[in-house]
Symmetry: C2
Subunit: 96 residues, 2 copies
């Protein structure tokens, strides 16, 4: 999978298909906040994302407090957003 940084044109094109994710860090990352019924449900989701992340060797930066999970995706090796983030965001959306 490419780890090349997306051009801003590519980025905007891919992000149009991820309406619940917002650009972060001057366009070098995407972020989404997920809200669940309670901590147990939130952490269950995090566990599924963790397994996915480990499998794809692409790890999120994330924050959790009780039923809220904030996920930020970026590709350090690319110095910004790559296709790996777009594909990971899609997979995460499918789990939520």
């Amino acid at each position: 999978m490419s780890v090349e940084k997306l051009t801003s044109e590519e980025r905007d094109s891919w992000l149009a298909a991820l309406p619940q994710w917002a650009l972060a860090r001057d366009g070098d990352a995407i972020a989404r906040t997920f809200t669940f019924a309670d901590f147990s449900e939130a952490f269950g989701f995090m566990t599924r994302v963790a397994i996915l992340a480990e499998k794809r060797d692409h790890h999120p930066e994330w924050f959790n407090v009780y039923n809220r999970v904030e996920i930020t995706l970026t590709t350090h090796d690319a110095g910004g957003l790559s296709l790996r983030d777009v594909k990971m965001a899609r997979k995460i959306d499918a789990l939520a």
Copy 2:
């Protein structure tokens, strides 16, 4: 377990026994950063903390990126630090 906010005297006394935790948020929280070999180990630790948190009904605010886990403890019901945070910090230390 008391959810009364600790006085600053009580707080300092309890924190003397938690040398790896630092005061945060103007003294209303304590925080510690844990570093592991990799993501799998970090998330394994988080899973144990999650189970502990759910059991004690006292949940952390935490951030993870790859092998690093930053945990912040505070007691919202007390408007600051309570004995619940001190006891939770001790239990977390025992897991790390």
